[in-house]
Subunit: 314 residues, 2 copies
DNA sequence: CGCCAATTTGAGTCCCATCAATATTTGTGG
DNA sequence: CCACAAATATTGATGGGACTCAAATTGGCG
């Protein structure tokens, strides 16, 4: 239902308007077999900044145009090792990024969606370190890195904004790493759903009811779990009453629980607070959470605690 | 022995030379109690680029100076929530970065050392999301973000280079996340040591014999393991003969093993190769590794495999 | 309908966290 | 310098959470 934005009617006009300063020999995007429909849309700098949630007051940006490209589900935006030429901004659709290890196993690293920036990892080394695959039909805006670079030191604000976007991306990765190493399986899945809901609502979709665009397998890879564990945990959360699951349809019932639940970290992982760390003003919210978070004994599984939790939550 | 670079003699000269375009009101770095010795050194743009491994051919950079600041082991370069004003480049010394959760537990995210850039996560939101703590006495170069920003669109190359550095940082995080979710405890520790060795040798130190600057606790937090597991794994690797461990002294015997060892990932995590992924030219090295990697049965622990492995390795 | 992929569910096993105890090192003050 | 305390590491025993193997079920699609 909700998550696939109705894409604008696709007419296959191939005449693409390009600003004079756009990279001349427009990148051949892929040597991969298969048909691809070049989008009929173009965006100017203002559109892009809006998409990225960047404030850009200058009004010179109207003349600088960027090409849209359509990808069908399953197609790759870029592959590992491919020469890096473009950054890409997701206009609509859902993707995954990941790496492939020596055994052919895929390791999913992120699920980009509208407004996300793809290809940052290619700047270093001029070569993509990850691959990006469309999970649904996608509309992607290409930003030739050369163009991007030129614009950066023409419009100071823009440059600043790009640093900000990269910083945000870095933050996400860190949050992810933190989650991966500190939380148990149940909490991982819970936060995964919570984060999805939040991102969806930021995009204007429903954050309470949505479809998963990715397989259980991809979720498992992303969270560092076995596929069976993901499945079991989903049903457990369902039976707990905090979500509803029907195949890939998800309905979030208790968002707070999903966001705050974590397994009990024993005193073991507590590192002595170093020296002169004044208590400082911990955010008021933090304090509340500390007391309200439903902390489950590590000795029980979610399923066994239905009643126990029902008491806590009601 | 090796890892603590002999710091230049510290004279407390407070007269800091500043370029005219450097930020006027120089940032008050910390409201934290304790004594801090302002460094007597300053670096120009060229020094910094060299430190960051950036090629910067322009010769205008000599006049732009950046302040050095000394931190003693245990001091914090910045705290979580602190207003973001400076990026910081590690000139010498060893640090850790991390976040503190609701329970006061620290989650270690990285171990920056010479040449690394600190504070990127603060660009977004103008506020530090992580804290950075000196593990040893450190010499840090402050780069006021405002100055940095100004320089960026003055020197095009420099801007490019900064994007590159941020891209590299992002790559590291991704590699980390990938490792955290895909590897077992033994492989985590092995790769941790391997990565340390590689970074040390890149810095000109010995990559084979070095001191750990961090506690087992911090390693455990970084790798998402229990401290006991780290300890046990170290002794296991020691008894395997691939490393030597004596407290925080590490000697790497079999670097290849450390780098390539991983637990057997079952078919479970194998995702069907999507569509038209031509076999492509996999790097020759990859193929070799695929066959040479010592893959251990998941059913045994390192300790139990001494002989078995000895056979494989010899 | 029949095939294949995705998902669910069950049973068994193992890796790793946990608890506990000891050893070693570091730091501090007398 | 030594003694005492606190932090840091090591080692063992144990249990549980998540992986593994296996089979059943569902859903998609030609």
């Amino acid at each position: 239902m909700f998550l696939v934005p109705t894409s604008a009617p696709a007419s296959n006009i191939e005449s693409i308007a390009l600003a004079p300063n756009a990279h001349a020999n427009f990148p051949s995007l892929s040597n991969e077999a298969g048909w691809r429909c070049k989008g009929d849309l173009w965006s100017n700098l203002h559109d892009i900044c809006e998409l990225l949630n960047i404030r850009f007051s200058s009004n010179k940006g109207k003349e600088i145009l960027f090409q849209h490209v359509r990808y069908k589900a399953g197609q790759k935006i870029h592959k590992i090792g491919q020469h890096f030429e473009n950054l890409a901004i997701v206009n609509c659709g859902f993707l995954k990024t990941g790496v492939i290890d020596e055994y052919g196993s895929e390791q999913v690293l992120s699920f980009p969606m509208k407004g996300d920036l793809l290809g940052i990892d290619g700047i270093y080394n001029q070569c993509h370190a990850t691959e990006a695959v469309a999970l649904s039909d996608c509309d992607i805006i290409l930003v030739p890195y050369k163009t991007f670079s030129t614009l950066g030191h023409t419009y100071a604000e823009l440059e600043q904004a790009m640093f900000s976007v990269m910083s945000r991306e870095l933050l996400r990765e860190r949050t992810m790493a933190s989650m991966l190493s500190a939380l148990g399986a149940e909490a991982k899945v819970a936060r995964f759903l919570s984060n999805l809901g939040i991102r969806f609502s930021e995009l204007g979709y429903s954050g309470k009811v949505f479809n998963l665009r990715m397989t259980r397998h991809e979720i498992a890879s992303y969270l560092g779990l076995a596929i069976e564990t993901v499945s079991r945990t989903l049903t457990a959360l369902h039976e707990l009453g905090v979500i509803k699951v029907d195949q890939r349809q998800i309905a979030i019932i208790d968002a707070l629980f999903l966001k705050t639940f974590r397994r009990l970290p024993s005193t073991r992982s507590r590192i002595k607070v170093t020296q002169m760390t004044a208590p400082k003003v911990t955010r008021s919210l933090t304090k509340n959470i500390t007391q309200k978070v439903p902390v489950l004994s590590a000795k029980n599984t979610l399923l066994q605690q239905n009643k126990e939790l029902a008491n806590i939550l009601n």
